[in-house]
Symmetry: C2
Subunit: 244 residues, 2 copies
């Protein structure tokens, strides 16, 4: 038995998310079907992140066990020949048997992109969240500072999570702006369910003046989901990297 | 009678290009249908650029004549309510009766984006041309210099153009690189049919060593289409701006 690690990119637009479902097109489902065609084995793959429908990825990691004799680095091209256009294996390699894409993960990095303009948006909609009212990006940048560090983030979580603890450590959180594009980068040792999207929704409320920068600390400490921002749409979100 | 000028953005992925056709979905066709719904008039719109199927735009300009009493700046929202998601009116205004989106144009600016990596591409494919072999971007940057200025560009034109002269003036031509993204910007007083895409195809042959930088001048002067590069795919191309 061997353990194969995959680095995966996908466009989430036409997927019902990562996780295999009985009905519907998922990234995990597509990759497992491709592996079955190549090895003849019904492999279950472990994914680093069960991203939601519409979320994209440049950095999902997965692993699976196989008896196949295919060299580790050859799985990339082999699996790609059996995959649709909107999912790609970027790298494949054989790893130690104890490597697990999810449990071995030490952290993740996401980006979220907002286009901030009054005018209707028609180009790149599947990768952008369109905010029509003017955002104060300088205030949003200052607000990022309050999230960095180890906190209980239960105010920034959707129901349905099985997380044992809601304490996480955000190591990096910053914004780059170019013209009407606001690109947000966030890294942590792990994220609660919808945490990135709710934190971005909270930043947007800072940007439109509905939450004051100095209130962020209290919102984190109080831990009340009703005080944080909306869960912004999935299409602006890209999983950039998983750390091991 | 009044003359209304429109600034238009569209995602070309699901359009058979700009120009109205008897069958099939075109940008011009969609906008003319929207204007009919609003004004009750069968207006023909003049477009600045008859972009091909799959080409995108942030800057197409069009004008049309109308007897409608709708204020010039109100056409934007009115037309947008009748348009599909992948085309947007960014601005509308009343202009002098002698303004013509195509004949009054003094120049255009395009961008073309290449992603240069060996790995399969799944994300953003509709806006990127994927080149898998390594390109020498420094050589491509140097080659740009030879195109700038007034030249006969008949070596960089597909058949089917009704242009009276093949002489054009390129005022700006440069490349920005960020990681594996190669973004090319080119401005001219006008472009021959497929001229941007064939010039980019020629740059790619410089980038992979099949054309030497010092041979560019001769290729331009000789005017032989067989010596220039391929016409690269439409999806990397965006019409950025039309100058008046």
């Amino acid at each position: 038995m061997r353990n194969i690690k995959l680095l995966i990119e996908f466009d989430g637009t036409n997927f019902l998310g990562w996780q295999r479902q009985k009905e519907g097109r998922t990234v995990q489902g597509c990759i497992e079907k491709a592996i079955l065609k190549i090895t003849g084995e019904e492999s279950l793959i472990n994914g680093s992140s069960r991203t939601d429908s519409g979320v994209h990825s440049r950095g999902t990691v997965a692993n699976f066990f196989t008896n196949s004799k295919i060299p580790g680095n050859k799985f990339r091209e082999a699996i790609n020949t059996k995959l649709p256009d909107d999912v790609a294996i970027i790298k494949s390699e054989e790893v130690d048997m104890d490597f697990h894409a999810r449990y071995s993960s030490k952290g993740k990095r996401y980006s979220y992109t907002i286009v901030n303009r009054y005018e209707k948006l028609s180009l790149g909609k599947q990768y952008l969240y369109h905010v029509r009212y003017k955002l104060n990006v300088e205030d949003m940048k200052k607000a990022c500072e309050y999230f960095i560090g180890t906190h209980d983030f239960r105010a920034f979580m959707s129901p349905g999570s099985s997380a044992k603890t809601t304490i996480r450590t955000i190591s990096e959180f910053y914004i780059e702006q170019e013209d009407d594009m606001i690109k947000i980068f966030i890294s942590a040792d792990g994220f609660l369910y919808n945490m990135v999207r709710i934190i971005v929704g909270t930043l947007i409320k800072v940007g439109n003046g509905k939450i004051k920068i100095e209130d962020i600390e209290g919102i984190i400490n109080e831990g009340n989901r009703k005080k944080s921002g909306m869960c912004v749409p999935p299409n602006g979100l890209i999983l950039e990297k998983v750390f091991y």
